[in-house]
Symmetry: C3
Subunit: 245 residues, 3 copies
């Protein structure tokens, strides 16, 4: 296989975000895309990543290749890419080879590792409420909530998304109404509670796209999705916190 | 009461500066202004803060209200204000309610706390020397002094302000002559010594105003004042260090 | 002696870089230049610094003066210089006196210290390979190598400089070909290995000049030199790491 990106931004940002959630992961290189589906070590969050062949200047994958690497190592290497570097991904001598080409040729070799676990399946979820809005609004709401608590509630009722957090003595409530920037489609009133620590890692997806798709149901996992048409998709599924308060 | 600011900068910066000196404090909301007079926990420094009703877009306070809150909590909430947010301050259900309104409505509730101590009185001080100068000059002098010692001497003599610090082996001396930027009015030669740690917190007042009023006497407290006409006043009184050197 | 610089940048940057390698050092003020030759405490690296009299607005040194000071103190004082400050260096009452003059006069006095060791001699080295290239290329290569190992190999062969590092499992290789930016003159194939920790301090010399002169031989010290014609020269000699791998 040999893949070359002339704009390393999508790969670089995605791997940096994913490495905050997942330590080691198996990539699937198919003739159409690089794909990754992985759980965080605590089994609370799933990452779904797809970088389409159309995002590449050169994309040569004959048959499916599975290849696991340490995500932090990969992040550190990609960080070294300058915006004008052409980035090539290959395998060589059972190593994962990453080459940056501009006025110099810089080559990194990372070990291919063994990952015991069987391949992750994307769960078949059905959501009651779907919101599309600007990533900035969601980022801000999560950071607001972060100053009063460790968990946050998403509440969708009648064209209004309310994000709220309750601390020992303080409280934060962010009300987001459907408008030009925000579309809310929901069958019924739903409410679920999530870890802010995880959400803060996931909303880094705003580096990929300034729009976000948010899907919620009653006491049910949340799905957060950042997408650039024909290029990249980065989605997260987060288990709810089901406690009584 | 209900108060709305369309430019949160003065409140945000002032609370951030004050919270470095004071942990909990009682605000006085009067029909004319928000006021705060508080001592730092070590009783070395006093903060005097006044945000005038004319700084607000909406200012509705019928009678004096005393209301104590944790300054760090307040700072953290105000930090979340964006420059285009309208910031509303209210009380609701015995909580202090802060609302940011732009394309979303973000509401924070902070607990109103009990502060035992009686109200602080601003001491009646009379100074021998009064200097008005640019905040940048004073900031620079304090930061210069900081690299050689933990205390700094202000010396006013014959139209010259000398700020100096003496370390074990090193020494720093900053000479500021009266000129277009700096006015010095003094009856007699005066000299006082102060903690640099405190001064470094106080000179953050330069975020409020680029001019500063400095008042000094012989072995006597110092007063530092930052002011924007008809809007805001932030002043500090700092006890001198009286040691023999 | 009395020396005045109207552009403190070269002195400020050089002292900041040198102080990362050398704690105390003896300067030689001659009628032509300020000079410093010093070893780091571990005796692995030598610094050679020369700031020519032509870099100064006023340069008055009648006879050679030797003067040792703490490099960190000197760095901290020079950091306080603003770009529009005229910086004067003098001796007064057996102290080293540094004055910054703009709208205020700020004076620092640093102790002159005793340094036991005899004067450092610049070793007489002869190199097999000489490379001139942009400092950015070398900086990037060292930072690339830093993510996989603690040491780096410079390999010059037939108009190609290869900088490589090998970690436990990962590897980085940077290939720099002779071109418009990079001149490589070498008699024979040479290769030497060096500490990345030291190199990272030395490549800060890129603040002085965007070009760098690099000299290497087989298992031999490396010389790195940053120079601005008629103004300043900052060079480093680094002992090789001779281990077997």
């Amino acid at each position: 296989m040999k893949l070359t990106l002339t704009e390393p931004k999508f790969l670089k940002d995605s791997i940096s975000i994913i490495s905050d959630l997942v330590t080691e992961a198996r990539f699937r290189f198919t003739p159409d895309a690089i794909e990754l589906v992985a759980m965080d070590p605590a089994n609370v969050a799933m990452v779904i990543f797809k970088l389409l062949s159309s995002a590449f200047a050169e994309y040569n994958v004959k048959e499916d290749i599975h290849l696991a690497i340490n995500m932090n190592d990969f992040k550190q290497v990609l960080r070294r890419a300058k915006s004008n570097d052409a980035v090539t991904l290959e395998t060589e001598d059972n190593k994962f080879k990453i080459t940056f080409k501009s006025n110099t040729i810089r080559t990194f070799y990372l070990p291919i590792i063994d990952v015991d676990e069987s391949e992750q399946k994307i769960p078949d979820l059905s959501f009651k409420a779907t919101i599309t809005t600007t990533a900035a609004i969601i980022n801000e709401a999560i950071e607001d909530a972060d100053i009063v608590s460790e968990s946050v509630t998403f509440d969708i009722d009648n064209q209004v998304l309310t994000i709220s957090a309750t601390g020992d003595l303080s409280k934060a409530t962010i009300r987001i109404d459907a408008d030009n920037d925000t579309k809310i489609i929901s069958d019924e009133k739903v409410k679920s509670k999530f870890s802010i620590e995880y959400l803060k890692k996931m909303i880094q997806g705003s580096k990929i796209s300034e729009k976000v798709l948010l899907q919620v149901s009653q006491d049910y996992p949340l799905k957060l999705e950042y997408k650039v048409l024909n290029k990249v998709q980065l989605a997260f599924i987060l288990a709810p916190r089901v406690d009584n308060d």
